[in-house]
Amino acid sequence: MAAVSYKCPNCGGDLQFDPGTQKFKCEYCFSVFSREEVEAANPEKEGKDGSEETSQYKAETDTGSEASLYQCPSCGAEIVTDATTAATFCFYCHNPVILQGKLSGEYRPEKIIPFAVSKKDAVDEFLKFVKKKRFIPRDFFCKEQIEKISGVYFPFWEYDCKTEGDWQGEAKRIRIYRTGDMEHTETKIYRLERSAEVGFEELTRNALNKENRQLVEAVQPFRLEETKDFSMEYLSGFLAEKRDIEKKDLVEELHQEVKKHSSDMVRSSVQGYDTVTSVSDQFHLLGENWKYLLVPVWVLTYRGKNDKIYYYAMNGQTRKISGELPVDKKKVLKLFFGVFVAVFLFMLLGGYLVW
């Protein structure tokens, strides 16, 4: 397996993907290149099956503790990564390094959503987000820490499928009418039978089992219609992770989910009754399609002034943010008393004036 970096055709400096222009930029001579131009200038870097190794390769050590050893193609320093890291930066020269073999062969993603939010925009967006939150302790967030935000491509599974089946339910239609001083309630009970086909698209599952999994899942949805065919160059300048959750680990859960969605959708489609309840359903899969893709997420690990570690994630495409925020309990207490007094006075005034 090799560690590679993409070089500028003009000066040989390292290229990084620029989310703003969706092109590749040289950090040294500021030249900008399209993906095709980068590919043409670095023909040997786009290994399809992981068998192609470059001269930068030195060693890989699989220690059993899932740590791997690479050599930086720029400065020759050794880079130690965990088993799922697919793109990183050299700790010494800070140049982007792509661990090509991690995303080749069966682990090569079919699609990728390139970063659309630059680091500067991500920092600004995050600062804007925390400024809007009035109940966090004052000066809890400092810009210096927020600037340590990292852009990471996370592995996801996209699942499309079609189900077919039958659904049975019971419905009631109730009519109330009066004659004289009598009230009559007419209840009609129906047995409902439906056959249906349901198509599902863009069901997604996180394919990486890491601590911040919940946060990364919470920044969904991604605009999957904007996915592009995977190319290694997009990883340049970002971190990337390789999947460690396989289809077989998810298939049962997804099958159950689509069957439940199918039943619920058929039940919701029933109109013209006062009450509808499901009695039974049998749905089976007609076909399914899996895609392995990388999605862009800005992640931030933040040590609060209370020494607690907070994790944040921002969708690198839509800017949606997730994460736990610290709460200033004194401010919440003030809000509590403010609302209490306002409602209490309002009700007293209402009770006094309105009768």
């Binding site: 009230e183 009559h184 309630t185 056959s195 009768w355």
Partner: protein
Amino acid sequence: MVEKKMPKRKAAGMIVLWITICLWLSGVTVFAQCQIQDDAQLFTTEETQKIENLSEEIQDQYQMNVLVMTCEDAGGKESHEVLEDTYEEYGLESNEAKGGIALLIDMDNRELNLVTERDMIYYITDYREEKIYDAAQSYASDGEYGNAMIAMLKKVQQYLNEGIPNKQYTYDTETGRIVRYHSLASGDILLAFFAGLMVAAIVSVVLYRSYTVVKKYRYSTEKNARLKITAQNDILVNQFVTHRRIEKDPPSGGGDSGRTSTHHSSGGHTYGGGKGRGF
């Protein structure tokens, strides 16, 4: 220096406060008045003493005027006119009291009557007026006029203790104008208190959770799934009709509606009561 001056200032403040309280207390005692005018000489000495005691209790406790009257000859006036004229002759309608009540046993018209004035109008609603007559009527019919008056005064005292009824309003019989008496019952205050606590707690918990709980992403079937119904069948399997007799609104319990009807005396002052009850 400052330490020496402070006690003097405090002492001066205390004296001013004490004088104010004394003046206020002394004022209270002279604000309201009691008058007993037994023209028809219906009360025994003992009854008169009891009536005096009750009247003074009302006067002292509520700063309300009390005029107790009996008359042999109404001089061609209606009972309530006799009361209003006498009340105004004593100048009770314009003294510093909060209000007052005048009660009459009219031997000329064979009638019990009462009129209320200022704040007393709020306490003695039409319903309560009738209850006061109810309490006295049997005594009056039996010729126990002293006991009749004592019964009326006790009832007045009871209603003053109970306070202004909920949803009290004043209805001017001459102009049709309604004036509502706005007040808050202890139940209203308790309800407002708990509602305030509840809303404040909900708002705080929702806010706290919005900061500390990460919302899970939910797949949207509306956006990402397509449903095609290929066959459908709705079969009527059962049908039944249930019947219920519609209950008519229960008759009103005849409780206190809170209304006090008012009228104006020949002197132009506003009075409640005055309906009277024959005996």
